[in-house]
């Protein structure tokens, strides 16, 4: 058997990767969707398809100035004022800066940062466990900086009682003031799915906001 194995001789050959094979270009598994199909929505962000789609011309500082407020607003809305929202957003932008050669080349680096911030917020809450989730539910009762946000806590409390996917799209749509197409790119799903989730969320919120004991709001 071994005498018949020319392969082992060939084992001494040097092998090199094809120079045109870049990260994600030929094994794009990092953009494989839940049904095994390439996740087209991610192309709106411009990564990681291996092809830069309409690269952004923003500097990092310009990205930060233009998007730190809506990014923070989404985290505040989704997690309440008491769950280190600033830390989460700061961390998301630091990650963008560390990888600016790649992130800055994306068509929409702001969507990348928003998604990282959402994941960080989610992971922090999960890591802290059930106790933190209870705290999260009570987060609306913690101190806010502005009175207008304090007045709207009953609404965001209700949002936090929605299924996670619905809560996420509501926060992105209204606190982030993002278009449906942008939300779809951030959460990695189809626009139609986002619209359906928003519709279901509004239906459920209508019920939650009119429950006895729930303030009607300002």
């Amino acid at each position: 058997m071994d005498a018949e194995s020319p392969s082992v001789l060939a084992a001494r050959a040097s092998i090199r990767a094809k120079p045109d094979v870049g990260c994600g270009a030929s094994i794009p598994w990092s953009v494989v969707g839940r049904d095994g199909a390439t996740l087209g929505a991610l192309q709106g962000i411009g990564e990681p398809t291996g092809v830069t789609v309409g690269a952004s011309l923003l500097s990092f500082e310009e990205l930060y100035d233009a998007h730190v407020i809506p990014t923070l607003a989404v985290v505040l809305a989704l997690r309440g004022p008491g769950v280190d929202a600033e830390d989460v957003v700061q961390e998301a932008f630091v990650r963008a800066l560390v990888r600016w050669d790649r992130v800055g080349a994306m068509a929409r680096p702001d969507l990348w940062v928003q998604r990282v911030a959402l994941n960080l917020a989610n992971s922090r809450l999960r890591r802290l466990g059930a106790e933190a989730r209870a705290v999260g539910r009570l987060a609306g009762r913690q101190e806010t900086v502005t009175s207008v946000f304090a007045l709207e806590q009953p609404f965001w409390d209700a949002v936090r009682r929605l299924p996670p996917k619905q809560a996420r799209v509501v926060a992105l749509r209204y606190a982030g003031d993002l278009a449906v197409a942008d939300i779809a790119a951030i959460v990695g799903t189809a626009e139609g799915t986002v619209k359906a989730q928003l519709h279901a969320a509004r239906q459920r919120l209508a019920v939650l906001l009119h429950e006895p004991g729930q303030e009607a709001g300002p």
Binding site: V8, V21, V31, V89, L120, D177, Q203
Partner: protein, 335 residues
């Protein structure tokens, strides 16, 4: 009507959130470019880069096991008679049974503990691979081909034909561990889930560099993986092994990283390869088990490129190949 009311209320609440963010924005500082932090661990997107790393490992030196592109939780070794630790509610542990079989211990709801097969039921390109658990989404995922399963092992999507197989288990009296008490049970059909409902979290781990490595639970090879040839792979027990796979695919042999080949198992048929192709010699790390009938079963780590990706993505440099053909140094054959 109700919808419009909620819409207006939502817009107002959104404006309030942005006002709050604006007020808090002054507490934030623009991250400084100067102190760029070192990157923790290479993350998930570098499949081909890993492939390149894998193949430039020469066979003249002992192979360095390829590093996984993730930094998962180390598997919990299970000794015979010892139970498997029970994870926190909502969490999952990677473990191996006494025979080395890779499993996940999952507790989706309090008191509901499952020991699930960690091998993806989808066999892509004739190759079996391990799944990972994403804590952000609470979903078992195949990062290579996209199959997804909930914490009960039910199929959620992707090419896998069924859900995850289950090992029947019972909790030990102290409640901190479970013991596997029977043989592996068949996997549930796609349309016949075994439990649930599986609440899938909103997050995703398919986020390349934005996802923290700590959010993955997966099996990975130990720091030091033995270099085994075909005859040294144990029977009916799974071991991590560094292997060299080479030759015409209808006569594949397994050699160790020094080029010493065993006369033992042929793997081509088990891998379901086309027999008219020549496989470039490739060192790789996998879970391996001899079935005792002349075959070796292989299960590849999650996110690793396996040798049959490499067939597609590498080319042999011609001049070196010529040199190799003239190289009189035959590999020694183990008696």
């Amino acid at each position: 009507m109700i919808d419009i009311d909620v819409e207006e209320r939502a817009r107002r609440a959104g404006e309030a959130a942005r006002a709050e963010a604006h007020a808090r924005g002054s507490r934030l500082a623009v991250p400084d470019r100067a102190p760029v932090r070192p990157r923790n661990t290479a993350l998930l997107a570098a499949g081909v880069g890993l492939a390149a790393l894998l193949v430039v490992v020469g066979v003249a030196t002992r192979a360095v096991p390829p590093q996984l592109e993730i930094d998962p939780v180390a598997p919990v070794p299970a000794e015979s008679g010892a139970g498997l630790p029970v994870p926190d509610v909502g969490d999952v542990l990677a473990a191996q049974l006494a025979d080395g079989a890779p499993v996940f211990v999952s507790q989706p709801v309090p008191g509901d503990v499952l020991v699930l097969d960690a091998v993806d039921p989808h066999i892509g390109a004739g190759v079996r691979k391990l799944l990972v658990f994403c804590r952000l989404s609470a979903v078992f995922e195949d990062p290579r081909d996209g199959s997804r399963f909930d914490q009960w092992g039910n199929w959620l999507g992707g090419p896998a034909p069924v859900g995850l197989a289950l090992y029947p288990s019972e909790p030990t009296p102290d409640g901190h561990t479970v013991e596997v008490v029977g043989d592996r049970r068949p996997a549930p059909a796609r349309d016949a889930p075994r439990g649930g409902p599986g609440e899938v979290q909103g997050g995703t781990c398919q986020l390349d560099e934005g996802t923290e490595v700590s959010e993955w639970v997966a099996h990975r090879p130990p720091e030091s993986v033995p270099s085994l040839n075909g005859t040294e792979i144990p029977r009916d027990r799974w071991v991590w092994a560094s292997l060299l796979l080479a030759g015409p695919v209808d006569r594949l042999v397994i050699c160790d990283a020094d080029g010493v080949c065993g006369t033992g198992p042929i793997v081509a048929t088990r891998l379901g390869l086309q027999t008219d192709r020549e496989l470039p010699p490739t060192t790789f790390v996998a879970l391996a088990r001899s079935t005792g009938d002349g075959h070796v079963e292989l299960v590849f780590p999650p996110a690793a490129s396996h040798p049959f990706d490499l067939v597609t993505f590498i080319e042999v440099i011609d001049e070196h190949e010529d040199v190799a053909r003239e190289d009189p140094t035959e590999p020694t054959t183990r008696p």
